[in-house]
């Protein structure tokens, strides 16, 4: 779950990390009042869940409260990358001596949280890491042991900070690490973290992302912060295909289906899943020249209706000629039930299953019964002796107009 900047600021503030005297406003009048309260020049920032605010004109500077109100009115009307702002953040234009970067994120490869600190803040940390690796300090945290300030200090010291600067930055990074753990954040980032002329550190911008599965644990705190939990906060507007698949899944408790087609424009529909099969099979199709029309996941012993629903939605997508029904291996999901579902989808759409299903490769529970169904409708299928790679290759060959030999090579 992603947070707006103003929400991230509130979370950071709760963790005891100093922030500026900002104001979240939903009208120009509120922005004027916030600017008056702050006094002096201000920055007006659009509150949208997308990047590129500065380039799009979503960040503007004001010298007076009237100017702040004027900018707020313009920004509140400004759509950025298809996102409407939920408000603006009015922030004092701070007198900054130096900008730093501090973050604690979940390192999926190490399966542990990782602290990051740089004395080159305010810019893209990936760019800093690539061009100036000596300016980025890193350090992993334990999933079991308490977080000690000393671990944060080691990371900060790696980029050369000493004395009171080191001590003050250490306190911020250690608090950020505890925030990341306590709030189940996949990313807790402060960029820039500013050192002001009096030597104090203050978070000028924050970016927080919470593990979706953990949101329920923080419901009370999120409600206290005014976070609207009914807001799905999608990265993009879901397509009709995605909405329909979600609705089919929600209507029937048996099994699970998911479908995504954002960025997919191919002609081969994928009804895939099980045991990591979705990612592997999508990659296998693409690596062999195929063009997937979607990504999907099916498993958990879905009903015939649910398997049919997913297959129908995939087949109804514009440009889809055939579907490949493939999984790694199934144990509780039944092969015959999925076979019934996908064949029924073809029949209800007036399509010949033998022509429409490029390949059916689902080894596992009730496969013999499934093969009887596939035989009846002339659908090409294969068992576990054919690898996922080979099965994907056969589907690609078929949709590209070639046949496929027994070993999966296009003829």
């Amino acid at each position: 779950m992603r947070f707006y900047e103003y929400e991230s600021r509130r979370i950071v503030e709760r963790a005891g990390i100093p922030v500026t005297q900002y104001g979240f406003c939903t009208t120009p009048e509120e922005a004027r009042a916030a600017a008056e309260r702050i006094g002096g020049p201000t920055v007006i920032k659009s509150q949208v869940l997308t990047g590129g605010r500065m380039k799009a004109g979503g960040v503007r500077f004001a010298d007076t409260p009237d100017e702040a109100a004027e900018h707020a009115a313009a920004i509140l009307d400004l759509e950025i990358n298809g996102h409407r702002p939920v408000g603006v953040l009015v922030d004092p234009k701070a007198e900054v001596e130096q900008e730093y970067y501090a973050a604690v994120l979940w390192d999926g490869r190490a399966k542990r949280p990782m602290m990051l600190f740089s004395d080159m803040g305010g810019i893209d940390i990936e760019q800093v890491a690539e061009e100036h690796p000596e300016h980025v300090g890193r350090g992993h945290l334990s999933n079991l042991l308490p977080i000690s300030d000393f671990q944060a200090k080691e990371v900060v010291a790696r980029v050369g900070l000493t004395g009171s600067e080191l001590n003050r930055a250490t306190a911020v990074l250690a608090r950020l690490a505890r925030l990341q753990r306590d709030w189940d954040m996949t990313l807790a980032e402060i960029n820039p973290l500013a050192r002001l002329s009096d030597g104090s550190f203050v978070a000028l911008d924050a970016h927080m992302e919470m593990e979706n599965e953990a949101v329920f644990r923080h419901r009370k705190a999120l409600e206290e912060l005014g976070v609207d939990l009914s807001d799905p906060r999608e990265q993009y507007e879901p397509s009709e295909f995605e909405r329909n698949v979600k609705a089919i899944d929600a209507a029937d408790h048996r099994g699970v289906i998911q479908g995504k087609d954002h960025g997919f424009h191919g002609n081969l529909g994928l009804v895939i899943g099980a045991g990591g099969g979705s990612l592997t099979l999508t990659d296998a199709v693409r690596a062999q020249g195929g063009k997937p029309a979607n990504y999907s996941e099916i498993g958990g012993n879905p009903s015939v209706a649910k398997a049919k629903g997913l297959a129908m939605e995939v087949l109804k997508k514009e440009g889809v000629d055939k579907i490949a029904v493939m999984m790694s291996i199934v144990s509780n999901t039944r092969v015959d039930i999925v076979a019934r579902g996908v064949i029924k989808a073809c029949l209800e759409l007036g399509k010949d299953p033998a022509e429409t299903i490029a390949i059916f490769r689902i080894p596992g529970a009730w496969e013999e019964e499934g093969y009887k169904i596939l035989d009846r409708y002339g659908v090409e299928y294969c068992d576990r002796s054919v690898s996922m790679w080979e099965a994907a290759g056969r589907a690609v060959a078929k949709i590209q107009g070639g046949g496929a030999s027994a070993n999966g090579e296009a003829s």
Partner: protein, 82 residues
């Protein structure tokens, strides 16, 4: 005479006697994990939209007297019966 409902893959058949037995209808409704049978005051109804959901578990066969229920696998033309 019997009552039979076929979908694409599965057909369900009840003898007339079984279809008119409210007590058996209640047992069939309780036994079937995919709600193929609906108990009414006059006996059992076969819910067409659920027929193809049959998981071939045989619980309906166990719940009914021998010969009362037959499950037809239309794709291989075999039956399940007791």
């Amino acid at each position: 005479m019997s009552v039979r409902v076929d979908d694409v893959f599965i057909g369900i058949e009840l003898t007339d006697e079984a279809a008119r037995d409210p007590e058996l209808a209640r047992r069939l409704e309780e036994a079937c994990p995919v709600d193929i049978f609906k108990a009414t005051d006059s006996g059992a109804e076969i819910v067409r939209e659920n027929v193809d959901e049959c998981v071939l578990c045989g619980l309906c066969l166990d719940a009914a007297p021998p010969g009362a229920v037959t499950v037809h696998k239309l794709y291989d033309e075999t039956t399940l019966a007791r």
